[in-house]
């Protein structure tokens, strides 16, 4: 046992000898943290787990957002048209509305991770990382669609009823009023919430590790399971997510300010 211990100390000592003198004279605790940083990022080119994983995380997030917005708009339009129908809505619309409601109930009523497990192991059974990414993206998109639909619906509902009445009184039909008057105003209320959804999505994609997707979180897990540098690996992981979220938040606030300025 002691020989093994020695060998390890040698390994760390060997690494230490390549470092600047201030670190060589630093307390052992500091040296340890730096050695963990070295093990986490540099040794065996481990950083590529983070960069490769980051690519997968970003692809899954953006793909899911696109799917989510498409589904969200469709559902919101179906639901709003159904609810604002003057007469009894046609059968097709009523069926679509019922399906939309079912979708919203199921997606919002079950945990993300369960949806992912079902999509992966029962519905899509993906093979290989490429198919896994597709499966995860579709699942996150389906999940996000339900939330985006409600974001859009509440954005539409936030517009004063008088706007709809003014549009209709000029002779616009329901669809035209939506298109020219309600939606352009609603978008200002929708975009910030959509931005939050994007941030939520980015963080939520980390649950795809359970189906074996090599995303950012998985990258850190792999490093931990080879080096056992738990502390530094997971804090590095958290830092990467945090930087991403902060960058997104900043972008969104710039975007929002632009939107507001266009009004004045």
């Amino acid at each position: 046992m002691s020989t093994v211990m020695l060998a390890i100390s040698e390994k760390m000592a060997q690494w230490l000898s390549t470092t600047p003198s201030w670190l060589q004279n630093a307390p052992e605790g500091i040296q340890n943290i730096f050695y963990q940083l070295y093990q986490t990022w540099i040794m065996n080119d481990n950083w590529h787990y983070f960069t490769d994983g980051l690519k997968v995380t970003i692809l899954a997030t953006l793909g899911a957002l696109v799917i989510g917005v498409v589904i969200g708009v469709l559902i919101a339009v179906i639901r709003s048209a159904h609810d604002s129908s003057r007469k009894k809505p046609p059968v097709a619309l009523r069926i679509l509305n019922a399906l939309s409601k079912l979708y919203l109930t199921v997606v919002r009523g079950t945990p993300m991770i369960v949806q992912l497990l079902i999509m992966c192991f029962v519905v899509m059974v993906p093979r290989g990382q490429e198919e896994l990414l597709r499966c995860a993206t579709i699942t996150f998109g389906l999940n996000s669609g339900a939330y985006v639909a409600e974001i859009i619906r509440s954005g539409i509902q936030s517009i004063d009823q008088g706007q709809m009445e003014a549009g209709r009184s000029l002779g616009f039909n329901y669809g035209q009023t939506m298109r020219y008057i309600i939606i352009p105003q609603a978008i200002k209320n929708i975009l910030p919430a959509l931005g939050n959804e994007l941030i939520t999505l980015l963080k939520e994609t980390s649950v795809a590790t359970v189906i074996g997707l090599n995303d950012l979180t998985k990258g850190a897990q792999i490093i931990v399971s080879t080096n056992y540098t738990t502390l530094v690996s997971y804090i590095s992981l958290a830092a990467i997510y945090l930087v991403l979220v902060l960058a997104l938040t900043k972008l969104l606030s710039i975007f929002e300010r632009r939107m507001k300025n266009s009004d004045r």
């Binding site: 605790g29 998985k218 931990v224």
Partner: protein
Amino acid sequence: MKVNRKWIAALVIGAMVFGAGCSSSTEETSTESAAQTQEETTEEAAEEEVQEEVAENDTTSEEVAAENVTLEEGMLIMSTNATFPPYEYYDGDTIVGIDADVAAAIADKMGLTLQINDMEFDSALAAVQTGQADMVMAGVTVTPEREENMDFTNSYATGVQVVIVPEDSDITSIDDLQGKLIGVQQGTTGDIYCSDTPENGGYGEENVQKFSSGPLAVEALKNGQVDCVVIDNEPAKAYVEANPGLKILDTEFAVEDYAIGVAKGNDALLDALNNALEELESDGTLDKIIGEYIHE
């Protein structure tokens, strides 16, 4: 009281199943060098994790006085990943298996009360480094990388890594694994071996799919999402028995020793554990426990 505990345990298990993907991130609260410290309080950890009291505090135990070598006085906290039959798995609400029984016997020898915390495999290893558990027993194989961050006792059991394939698979020996999609449990030695570069005897990261538990990897195998699963022999037998249409290749993938992992530098605990293991081996307890679970 007992009933309440069981309910809480059941709830926590449920929560952990749902939150499996993120549970491993709870360890980052430590602000000190994880590999060195073990004075972190275990209170939060103990509350969060499933608690199982397997052994009662037996003060009549003969030798090996536990002079406060553990995190909590009178307690021996073990972290594990209870999806690994027959080493550790749930029988009802209780974690049982070779590791659980050996741990109970060790605790008995040391005059301590055993508490088992169930978590994911990676987290179970990390828990001893971050001071959330005294020891990890989860069919842990000793590897150089692991030794760099934790200390290990002498081996108490031998594990064999095998390959599970569908009965009609064209993989007939481990020589056929090249270029196939291999399923593993994240962080296990099977994962480490297979993920290594071909020059080092592995199959390359891109050919290995890492699942958070063995059963998920086997499920993926059944679905055709992977071509084979490399995993420890004993759980493999249990999985194959439970899933018709799967078989274990005759050739072994690797043979390795299981040991108990403790925080690096905790020699007092390490010695105490080694002494206890030695006694258990010489009085035949170890063989008896293994024989209970593994019938050749």
